[in-house]
Symmetry: C2
Subunit: 216 residues, 2 copies
DNA sequence: CGAAGCCAGTAGACAGTGTCTACCGAAGCC
DNA sequence: GGCTTCGGTAGACACTGTCTACTGGCTTCG
C-alpha cells in the first residue's frame, strides 16, 4: 500500500529471505532459491549483495532488530528490574524457539559476514554499509547489563554487573540452544514443555541474581 | 603399530575427518575432501556410510567420546563433588574452545543424523549401527546430574537435581557458544581470556549450586 | 584346477550450488 | 541523437552430494 517502491529488490530479497528462514529453515536459504522466490534471476542479488553471506547477514540483521523490539516490549510490560529481566529472559528463549530458523541463522557465524573476511577492501564497495552485525548483539547485551545494574544486589558472588549479565545471557542462550537441540527435553522428562522452560528461565534468574523475594 | 588393519577404510575415514575438523573446521568436511585426503575415490565412503551425514555423525561421535573421557579425567582429579563439578565445567568450555570445529560439529543437528530422518527403513541397512548420537549426550548429562545430586544442597531454588544440572549445563554450553562466537569477549572487555572464562564458569557454579564455601 | 560370486573401490553422470563475466534493454544526460 | 550508466538476464565454471554401472582381486565351492 505505502510507497515502498524505491530500492525495491534489495528489500524484497531480504523480505523473502526472512519469510523463507522462518518457514523452511536455514537450509533453504540458497542464493538461487531466494532469487527464484523473489522472481528474479540468480544473478540479480549480486547487484545489491556482493556475496551470499552478505545477503544472509542482512536477513540475520532483521532478526536482531526483531529480537530487540521484543526486548523493548517485554521490558515495557514490567515494572521492577527483576520482573523486567524475567520478561526479557522469557522473550529471549521464546524467540529462539518460536523462530528457530532465524535464531539459528543469527548465530551461525560461518554463514554471516561478521569480520572474519580478512582483508577489508579499500572503500570500493561502500554499498555494503552493514553495521558489522556482530555489534548487533552488543546493544542487546548492554540492555541486560543495565537491568542487572539496576538491581540492588548483583548476585550471589557479588560480581560486577557485566559479568553477572554475561553469565545470565550465556545461561539463557544455552537453554535455548540445548532445548531446540532436543537434549534438554529428553533429559528432564516429558512434562509440559512451556512449564519446564519457564522453570529453567526462573532457575537461571534465581541463580544469577539471587532468590526472587530478596530483590527490590 | 597395533593390528588395527581390519575394516581399515571405515576407521581411516573417521580419523581423517577428525583430524580435518580439528585443523580446518567443519566447512572443510566435504565428503569428497575427506575421501581425497584418505586417498580413495569420492564414491568409496558410500560403502561404509550411506550418506554424508552418517559419516559426519561418526566423526561427531568421536568428539562425544573424547569429551566423555575428559569428563572422567576431570572428575578423577578432584575429590569433593563441588570441585569435581568445577573441573567438569572447565573441561567442558575448555574442550569447546580448544576443539572449536569439533564442538561446533557436535551440535550442528542439521549436519548430523540425529533422528530427523523421518522414515526409519526396515532393517535393510543394519550396517549403520549408530547409537543414535543424540543419546551420546545423555550419559554426559547424567554424570552432571549425579554430581549435582551428591551435593548436599541442590541450589538456591531447591530444585531437583535434574533441573539444576540442566540449568548448569545450559549455562556452560552458553558460555562456550557465546565466547567462541566472540560476543562475550568484546562485551566483557579485553582482560585475560582464560581468567575471564574461569570467572564465568565459577560464577555459573556459584549461581546454580550456591556459594562455594557452603558446599560439603 | 577352474568357475561363480562377492566385495571394495573406481569412474562417470546428474542435478544443484555460489561466483564470475559478458551481454542487453531501458532510462537519463549532454 | 549518441552516449553512458543502471538493473537485471543468461550462460559458463568449478565444485558439491548422490546414484549407478563397472572392474579387479579374493574367497569359496564344485
Amino acid at each position: 500500500m505505502s510507497i515502498e517502491r524505491e530500492n525495491s529488490l534489495r528489500e524484497r530479497l531480504v523480505d523473502v529471505g526472512v519469510e523463507l528462514v522462518l518457514t523452511e529453515g536455514v537450509a533453504s536459504l540458497g542464493l538461487r532459491e531466494i532469487a527464484r522466490r523473489a522472481g528474479v534471476s540468480h544473478g540479480a542479488p549480486r547487484r545489491y549483495f556482493p556475496t551470499h553471506h552478505a545477503l544472509l547477514s542482512a536477513i540475520a540483521h532483521r532478526g536482531f532488530a526483531d529480537l530487540g523490539a521484543r526486548f523493548a516490549a517485554a521490558v515495557a510490560g514490567a515494572v521492577s528490574p527483576r520482573d523486567q529481566l524475567r520478561a526479557l529472559g522469557r522473550a529471549y528463549v521464546g524467540y529462539a524457539l518460536e523462530h528457530r530458523g532465524m535464531f539459528e541463522l543469527m548465530f551461525r557465524h560461518d554463514l554471516l559476514d561478521s569480520e572474519r573476511q580478512g582483508q577489508e577492501q579499500q572503500g570500493a564497495e561502500r554499498a555494503t554499509e552493514q553495521p558489522r552485525l556482530r555489534e548487533s548483539t552488543l546493544p542487546l547485551f548492554e540492555r541486560i547489563v543495565d537491568l542487572v545494574a539496576r538491581q540492588r544486589r548483583y548476585g550471589p558472588g557479588g560480581q560486577p554487573p557485566a559479568v553477572t549479565a554475561a553469565a545470565l545471557w550465556a545461561n539463557l542462550h544455552g537453554i535455548a540452544q540445548l532445548w531446540s537441540w532436543g537434549s534438554l527435553g529428553l533429559a528432564l522428562g516429558a512434562a509440559s514443555p512451556e512449564q519446564q522452560l519457564d522453570r529453567l528461565v526462573d532457575a537461571a534468574l534465581d541463580a544469577h541474581l539471587g532468590p526472587a523475594d530478596a530483590a527490590s
